[in-house]
C-alpha cells in the first residue's frame, strides 16, 4: 500500500492543474472549445487510458483520477468523461483489433468526440432498462427509439447506443451495444443545456441502419460491458466531484475570512467555523472514497467492483450535496447568483450527484449486495 504519487503522476497533476485552472471567465461560459480539446490531445490526456499498442499512454485509473480531480477544480466542460472515460472504456473493453486501434487513435488525436447514449425516458437509474429496439436484418441491424439526457450528445461525432435486440425491458440478457455515426441517416438530436449548464441532447433514432460490424462486444450480452464502463465512469466522476468540492470548500473558507459582518470576519463566528470544519471532514471522507473507487474500479470481481463503486457514489452524493448547500448558505445571497462562480460549482455538484444514480440508489445497491466487506485486509 502506497499513497504517494510517482514523479510522472506528479508532473501530470501539475500540468493538468495548470491547464484547467479555474478562471472567473470560465464559470460564466458553460461552452467548451475544440481548441482546448486539442490542447488536451497535445498533452496526451486524450490518449491516457488506451494501451500503448493502440497508440495510447497505457495509464490507469490513478492517472484518470488525477485528471478528473483537476478538471473538477477548474470546472472543465470539455467532454472528457463522455469521450475518453466512457466511450474510451467501451472502445478499450468492447472493440476488437483494428477497430479498437482506429477509434483509440481518433479519440487520442482529438478528432473524435464520442458519447454514450443509454438513458431512456422511463428507465431512471436501472442500467438494464433498455427499450430502444435493434432489429436484426441480413446486413446488420435497424435501430429505432429515443435516448435522452445524453451528455455532450449535441456535438458528439460518434454515438455508442445501447439497444434491445432480444428479450423484454428490464431483462439483463438481450442488450446490444452499437457504434453509430451521429451523422447517419435517421439520427436527429435535440440539444439543450443540462441543469448544470453542460450540454446535453435527446437523440432520436428512426430506423437507423447499421452494419453487423457496428456491434460492440457480444450481441445481446452488452450489459456486463456497460456495467463495467459505468463503474469506471463513476470512479472518474467521484474524482471530479472531489475537485469540485475542494474548490467550494476553498471558496467558502476564503469568503469567511474576508466577508465582514458585525465588525469582524464572519469566519470569527464559532458556529460558522464548525460548519466549515464539517465541510472539511466531508471533503476528506469523500476524497478517501474517490481513492477507494479508483482502486476498486478495475477489480476483476464485478460484484466487489460494483459494490465498492456504489459505496463511493453514496459518499460523493451526500457529502457533495452537504458541501454545496453549506457553501451557498455560508456565502449568503452572493452564493445564489450567476455572477459569482460558486453557483456553477454548486450546480455541477448537483448534476454529479444525479448522474449514474443518486446516493439513495447506490445505497440500495450496496445494501442488496449485503454491504461492504468488513473483513480486515
Amino acid at each position: 500500500m502506497d499513497f504517494d504519487l510517482s514523479d510522472e503522476q506528479r508532473l501530470l497533476r501539475d500540468n493538468v492543474e495548470r491547464l484547467a485552472a479555474p478562471t472567473e471567465a470560465k464559470a460564466d461560459s458553460p461552452a467548451w472549445s475544440r481548441e482546448r480539446w486539442k490542447q488536451f490531445a497535445e498533452l496526451g490526456l486524450l490518449a491516457l487510458p488506451f494501451a500503448e499498442e493502440d497508440g495510447g499512454l497505457g495509464w490507469g485509473p490513478v492517472e484518470t483520477m488525477i485528471v478528473m480531480e483537476a478538471f473538477g477544480k477548474g470546472l472543465v466542460r470539455e467532454p472528457y468523461l463522455s469521450t475518453v472515460v466512457i466511450a474510451g472504456g467501451l472502445i478499450r473493453h468492447g472493440c476488437n483489433g483494428a477497430a479498437r486501434k482506429e477509434l483509440a487513435g481518433r479519440v487520442a488525436s482529438g478528432d473524435l468526440v464520442a458519447t454514450f447514449a443509454h438513458v431512456e425516458r422511463e428507465a431512471r437509474h436501472a442500467l438494464a432498462d433498455v427499450a430502444l429496439s435493434a432489429r436484426k436484418t441480413n446486413e446488420g441491424f435497424v435501430l429505432d427509439g429515443v435516448k435522452s439526457v445524453v451528455p455532450h450528445g449535441d456535438r458528439a461525432d460518434l454515438l455508442f447506443v445501447s439497444a434491445r435486440s432480444t428479450g423484454e425491458r428490464h431483462e439483463r440478457e438481450g442488450i446490444s451495444l452499437f457504434c453509430v455515426d451521429a451523422a447517419a441517416k435517421g439520427v436527429t438530436r435535440r440539444a439543450y443545456g443540462l441543469a448544470d449548464g453542460t450540454p446535453g441532447a435527446e437523440i432520436r433514432l428512426d430506423n437507423v441502419v447499421v452494419p453487423a460490424g457496428a456491434v460492440v462486444g457480444e450481441p445481446g450480452r452488452a450489459l456486463p460491458l456497460i456495467e463495467r464502463v459505468t463503474d469506471e465512469a463513476i470512479a472518474a466522476l467521484c474524482a471530479e466531484a472531489v475537485g469540485v468540492m475542494n474548490e467550494m470548500c476553498d471558496m467558502t473558507v476564503s469568503y469567511l475570512k474576508t466577508r465582514k459582518q458585525f465588525g469582524r470576519p464572519i469566519g470569527a463566528f464559532q458556529a460558522l467555523q464548525h460548519r466549515a470544519a464539517d465541510m472539511f471532514i466531508a471533503l476528506e471522507q469523500a476524497r478517501s472514497m474517490a481513492v477507494y473507487a479508483t482502486m476498486m474500479a478495475t477489480d476483476p470481481d464485478p460484484a466487489q467492483r460494483s459494490t465498492a463503486v456504489s459505496a463511493a457514489k453514496v459518499t460523493i452524493g451526500r457529502n457533495g450535496r452537504f458541501i454545496g448547500e453549506q457553501a451557498v448558505q455560508l456565502h449568503g445571497g452572493i452564493g445564489m447568483t450567476m455572477e459569482y462562480r460558486l453557483g456553477a460549482y454548486f450546480k455541477r455538484m448537483t448534476a454529479i450527484g444525479m448522474l449514474f444514480g443518486d446516493a439513495d440508489h447506490h445505497l440500495r445497491k450496496v445494501t442488496k449486495a449485503g454491504g461492504l466487506e468488513l473483513k480486515t485486509g
Binding site: 435522452s148 439543450y192 448558505q329 445571497g333 455572477e339 439513495d360
Partner: protein
Amino acid sequence: MDLRFTPEEQNFRQEVRSFIAGNLDKETHASMLAGHRPSKEQIVAWQRVLNKKGWATVDWPAEFGGTGWNIIKRHIFREEVQAYPAPEPLAFGVYMVGPVIITFGTEDQKRKFLPRIANLDDWWCQGFSEPGSGSDLASLKAAARRDGDHYIVNGQKTWTTYAQYADWIFCLVRTDPQASKPQEGISFLLIDMKSPGVSLRPIVTVDGGREINEVFFDEVKVPVDNLVGVENRGWDCAKFLLSNERVNTARIGATKERLRRLKKLAAEVQESGRPLIEDQSFAEKLADLEIELKALEITQLRVLANEHKNGKGKPDPASSVLKLRGTELQQRITELTLQAAGPHGLVGENLDAPPGHNEDEIAPEWMRLAAPTYFNTRKVTIYGGSNEIQRNIIAKQILGL
C-alpha cells in the same frame, strides 16, 4: 384545551376553498400546480379578486380593511390559499409595509397607501439589505440627509425581490451617522420607484431566473411625509416587520401542497417496474417529512395562539422556530422532488420559462422544474434573517444565553 377544528371552523374552511375554486383563474392554478411561480399579472389579478371579496388583508385590523377573523380563521385562510395553490397577497405590501404603516404611520399615510396596498394598485418592494449589510442589517450605509421638506437619499440596496415590478420601495436608511449605536440612526422611508435617481440592475440567480435586483439611489428626493414613525427610530419598524416575516416564511400550507404533489408523482414514477413510492427508504422519507410538517403546523398554531393571548405587536421569538424548520422543510421537499425526477431532473430549465412550453417531450414539466426549483429554494434559509441568525435569536432571546 381542544385541539380539533370546530364545525364552524371546518365550514369556514370549506367556504374559503369554494371561493378560491370558483374565482381563481384556471391557468394561474394550473401553472402553479406545475411548480411555476405566478406571474406579476396573475398575482395582481388574484389579489384584486380577493380584495373585492374583502379578503386581501385579513390580518389587518378591521378598521383598515381587515376581516376581524380570529387567529384560527386567519390561519385557515392562509393555509387554504397556499395549499390550493393560489397566489398569496403580495407579502411586501400586505404582510410587510402595510402593518408597519398601520402601526407606525400617520393618518395621511394610512389613507394614502393602505387601500392601494390592499388592491395591489401599488406594487411594493423591500429595501433592507445592502452588499455590505446582510445578517448585520444595522450596519447599513444607504443614507438620507434632510433638505427642507425632503430627504435626499444616496446608496444601494440589494437582493430586492421583484423590484422590476415595483411602484414603491420601503427602505431603511441612515439619517444620523453620529448615533451612538448603529441601530439608532436609522429611519424607515417610503420611496416612489419613479423618482429621478432610482435605478435597477437585475441579478440573475443560479436557477436562471430574474427575481432579484440591486437598487441604486442617486440623490433621490423623498418628501419628509414619506417617513414612517419617528426619524432615527426606524429600527423599531424593522424589528416589527422582521418578526412578522418569520411567521410568514414557514409557508406550511404551501409545503403541504408540494408534499402532496410529490407523493402523487412518486406513485407514478417507476424504476425497474416498481413505483418509487414502494421503495421503503423513499416512502419513509416522505412519511418523515409529513410528520415534521405536522409538528410544525401545531407549533405554528401554538405560536399564533400565544401571540393572540399576549396581545398583538409583541413578536414571539418562537417564530424563529417556524422560520427555521419551515424553510428547512421547503428545501427538503425540493431535494426529494429532484430525487424523484431521476436522470431527467438533469433536463434543467429556466424557472421563468413560460409554463407548458414545448420541451414537454424531452421530460415532463415537473422534472424539468425540479433542478431549478431546488437551486432557487436555497434562498429561503438565507433571506428573512438567515437560519444562523434565527438560531442566535433563539439562543439569546428565548434561552438567555
